[in-house]
Amino acid sequence: MAMLLCSAFSGAAVAKEEKVVKVGVGAPSGDWGYPSPFAFYPRGPGYIRMSFGFDTLTWKDQNGVVIPWLADSWEMSDDGKTWTFHLHEGVKWHDGEPFTAKDVKFTFDYTKKQKIAFKWFQSLDYIDHADIVDDYTVVIHLTKPFTPFLADIAGDVPIIPEHIWKDVSDPSKFTGYEAVIGTGPFKLIEYNKNLGCYEWEANKEYFKGKPVIDKLISMAVNDPAAALTTGGIDETSFWGQSAEAASGFENNPDFGVRWGPSYWVLQVIFNCEKYPTNITAFRKALAYGIDRKEIIEQVVHGYGISANTGIIHPDTEWYKPDLPGYEHNVTKANEILDSLNFTDTNSNGIREYPTGEELEFELLTIGKYSREAELIKSQLKEVGIEIGVKVMDWSTMDAILKEGNFFIAINGHGGIANPRILKAPDWPASTFHNDDYDSTFKAQEKTMIVTARKELVGHLQEIIADDLPVYTLYHPKMCCVYRPEKLDTWFFTKGGVGIGIPIEMNKLVFIREEAVSTPVPTMTLPAPTATPSPGPTSAPEQPGFEIVFAIAGLLAVAYRVSRRKK
C-alpha cells in the first residue's frame, strides 16, 4: 500500500511499462557487501550479487554443464598446463569501453598480485601468468595441471576492466561507482548497506541478450512468507525447516514453487586424535546409535533427506551410490561397544571406560543445531553413553575445533556439489589424517579424464564412509516460491552456480525467455512428506481474539475491585 501511495505522488518515478522483480531474503541478512569483485562478503549470496554485474570466461547452465561465456571457445594443451581462450568479440563494459584480451590478462595478474583481495576462492596459486596473443585471444599458463580449472577458476574469477582497476592499490576498499563497472547483464543503481537492499537495472546491450526484466531489486525482509503474501516481494527461497512455509503456497494458483538441492550437509564431527573417538569401531558404534530419520522428522519436519555417508550430495555427478550406511541399530551399537570393553559394570545405565570412569563426554554445537544435539543426546543415552550438550557461538566453536579440544561436535556446511570440499572432510577441525586419502585427493585434481576422476572422488567417499571421521546426518531440502506473472524462469543449477552455490539466481534466469522445464536430476528427490502446517494467513486469527479477551478480563477485574472499595 505504501508503494501505491508513493507512486501516486511521484507519478513519473516508476514507468508503467517497467518490469521490476523484487527478491526477498530473510532479515537480518540481505546485506552481502558492495557487489564489486573485491568488496562483497565472501558468501554465496554475495558472489551471486556480484555476478550480476561481472562475467567470467565460462559459466554453467541449468544442467551444470560448462558453457561459453566471455570466452567463445578454448583449448587445453596436452600437459594440462596451458589454456587458450578465444574471447567473444563486441562485448562492452558498462561505461562503453570495449572488452578485450588485455582485460583478461590484467584480471589474472591483478588478482594474483592482490592475494587476499579476491576472497572467493583461493587457488589462484595455480595461475602462473597470462599472455595476450591478440585482441581476442589470451593464453593462461598454470603452475601445474588443475582439472577443475575450467569450472572453478575460469568460471569463477570475474573479469575486471583494466582501465579502471590499474590505478587501484587497495581493491577491498574501492567502492565507488567505478568499482561496479563490469560486462554483466545488470548495472548497479543503488546499494543500501543498512537496509540490505540492492537495485539493478538491465544492461540492454548485454552480449548474451537483453535481460527479460528491466529492474531487479534484492532486499531484506523480516518474514519472507508474509512479504510474499502481501506482495512486498516477488520471490524468495526456503530451506530446511523454513521450507514448511512453502506448503502454504503449493496449492495456490498465484504462486509457483520449485524444489532444488541445497548442497548442504549437517554432520557429526569426531575427534580422530583423541581417545575414545579415535577408535574407528567406536565411531561406528555411535553412528549406529544415532537415528537420522528421527532427527529429520523432528527437527526439519521431513524437509530433508538422509545424507550421503560420503558427504557429496546425491544430486551431483560425483555422487557414489551404495556406500556403507549406518542405519539406526541399537543392537549393533551395543554389540560393538561391548566388544570394545565399554561395559556397564555398575548397572546405572551408563557404560564405563575400561579404566572404570563413566563413559560421558561433551558434544559441542552452535545454537542453530541445538535441537539435533538434544536428540542425539537422548539417542545415545539408549546405548549407554552420557552426552553433555554444550552450545556456544560459532567463533568460539571454530577456535576449539581447530585446537582439537573436543570429542564430538555438530556442524553444517555447504559446497558439497564440488569435490574440492573433500579436501578437509572434518572442517573446521583437522584431526583426520590418512595418507591414502590425501594422495587420492591430490590425484583427482590432476586427472583430466572425467571417468577416472569420478573413480577417485568415489574412492574418497568410500574412505569417509569406512573410516567415519564425520557422520553425516541430513541434507535439507530447498525450494523457491515466486509469483509467475512477475518472472517464472527460476531454476536451480545442477552442481550449483559458479563453484557450487545452491541459489536459484543463476544469471541465465534473467536472460531466458521461456519458462524452464523441470530439469531431470540424476537422483529424484522424494516429495516432501511433512504434515503441512497452517499457512501464514491462517495463523494470525488466534492471538487477536485471545488478547482482546485478556484485556477485557483485566478491565472487568479492575472495575470490580474499584467498586468494592467504594
Binding site: 511521484s10 587476499i116 583461493q122 537496509l195 525482509v221 559446497g415 474499584s562
Partner: protein, 326 residues
C-alpha cells in the same frame, strides 16, 4: 574548580572504558577471520591455509603486538578515525552513523512519547489515589507493559501489518523509493516508524508511570502541599507549581539512565521489525568478532551514557535549587 574535577572525572571514565573496549573483545575465543572466511550458513567453507591467514591478519593489522595495536587505535581515535570494519568492509564511523540515526529516531520518538505519557498518567493516578481511574490505569498499564517487547511487536505486525494491511511490516523506509517531496519521505518514514515506536512505548511506559506515581504520592503527603491547600490555591496550580517539580526529580535520573541503555537495548524490536539500528549492529559485531566495529559501538554507547548523565546533572540542578555545587 569543581567543574574541572568533574570533567577530569568524565575523561578518566572514558579512558578506562576505552581500554576495556579494546581488550575485552580480544579476550573472547575466536577471531574476526573465522567469520570472514566461513560460517555455517548456506555456504562453502573457505579453508584458509596458513599463508592466506597470515596475509589477512597482516592486512587488518591484527598481527602486530597487542600494545602496539592499542597505541595505534588510540592515536587513530584522536584523529577521529574509528577504524575499518572487518566484516562489513566499510569505515566504522559511516556504519555507526548510518545505524545510529535510525536508532535515535526510533528511541527518541518512543522516549519522548512514553516520558510525557508516563508522567501525565502517573500524576493522574497519584492525585486520585485509590479511585476508579487510578486502579483502572494501574491494572491496565501494568498488564500491557509486562508483555515482552518482541511479542508485542509480532502481534502488531500480524494485526496491523498483515491482517489489516495498514502499515508496512519491515524496515525503516520503503527500499529505493524515489521521493518527489520531502513530505513524502517523512510520511514514508513515519509509517515505518509507527509500529516499532508504539511497541517500545508500551513496553517501557510501565516503569515511568509507576515511578511517577510513587514519587507523586510521596510529594502529596508533604507538609507544603497541605499548606498550599490551606492557602486556598487551586488544585491545578498546586499540581503544576509545587507537586510536579518535586516529583520529577527521581524521574530525571531514571530517564538519564534509560536513554543510555535504550541505545543498545532495543535489539528485540529492531529484530522483529527489521529496523536497522545499533542494537542489531552490536549483536552482529559480537557474533562476528569484528573488533573495530565492537570498539566503535561500545565507544558510542559509553559516550551517550556519559552525556546523558552530564545532562541529567545539569537538569537536576535547575529543577532543584537546593542542590548546589559545593
Amino acid at each position: 574548580m569543581h567543574q574541572i574535577t568533574k570533567i577530569t572525572g568524565y575523561v578518566a571514565i572514558i579512558l578506562v572504558v576505552l581500554s576495556f573496549n579494546f581488550f575485552l573483545p580480544r579476550v573472547m575465543p575466536g577471531d574476526p577471520l573465522s567469520f570472514l572466511t566461513g560460517d555455517p550458513g548456506m555456504d562453502m567453507p573457505i579453508v584458509l591455509d596458513e599463508e592466506m591467514r597470515a596475509e589477512l591478519l597482516a592486512y587488518y593489522g591484527l598481527d602486530k603486538p597487542l600494545l602496539q595495536q592499542f597505541y595505534d587505535y588510540m592515536l587513530n581515535l584522536l584523529h577521529g578515525n574509528l577504524g575499518w570494519s572487518i566484516y562489513f568492509n566499510a569505515p566504522v564511523s559511516s556504519i555507526l552513523i548510518g545505524r545510529l540515526k535510525w536508532t535515535l529516531l526510533l528511541v527518541g520518538t518512543a522516549t519522548a512519547i512514553y516520558m510525557v505519557l508516563g508522567i501525565m498518567l502517573g500524576t493522574i493516578s497519584a492525585w486520585k489515589r485509590g479511585g476508579k481511574r487510578d486502579v483502572g490505569l494501574l491494572t491496565f498499564i501494568l498488564s500491557i507493559s509486562s508483555l515482552p517487547s518482541f511479542f508485542l511487536g509480532m502481534l502488531f505486525i500480524i494485526l496491523f501489518g498483515i491482517k489489516l494491511e495498514l502499515f508496512p511490516i519491515f524496515g525503516a523506509q520503503t527500499p529505493f523509493m524515489r521521493y518527489s517531496t520531502p513530505f513524502e519521505a517523512t510520511a514514508d518514514i513515519f509509517r515505518h516508524l509507527l509500529l516499532p515506536a508504539t511497541t517500545l512505548v508500551i513496553a517501557h511506559i510501565g516503569g515511568v508511570y509507576l515511578l511517577m506515581r510513587n514519587s507523586m504520592l510521596n510529594v502529596v503527603g508533604e507538609d507544603y502541599i497541605l499548606t498550599a491547600r490551606a492557602k486556598g490555591l487551586a488544585e491545578w496550580y498546586i499540581l503544576r507549581k509545587h507537586a510536579m517539580k518535586n516529583a520529577l526529580l527521581p524521574i530525571t535520573t531514571m530517564i538519564a539512565l534509560r536513554v543510555g541503555f535504550m541505545i543498545s537495548g532495543t535489539i528485540f524490536v529492531e529484530t522483529v521489525f527489521a529496523y536497522p539500528g545499533v542494537g542489531i549492529l552490536l549483536y552482529d559485531a559480537v557474533t562476528y568478532r569484528d573488533y573495530p566495529l565492537l570498539q566503535g559501538a561500545f565507544l558510542i554507547i559509553t559516550l551517550v551514557i556519559i552525556a546523558a548523565n552530564f545532562v541529567a546533572d545539569i537538569i537536576y540542578v535547575r529543577l532543584d535549587p537546593r542542590v548546589k555545587h559545593e
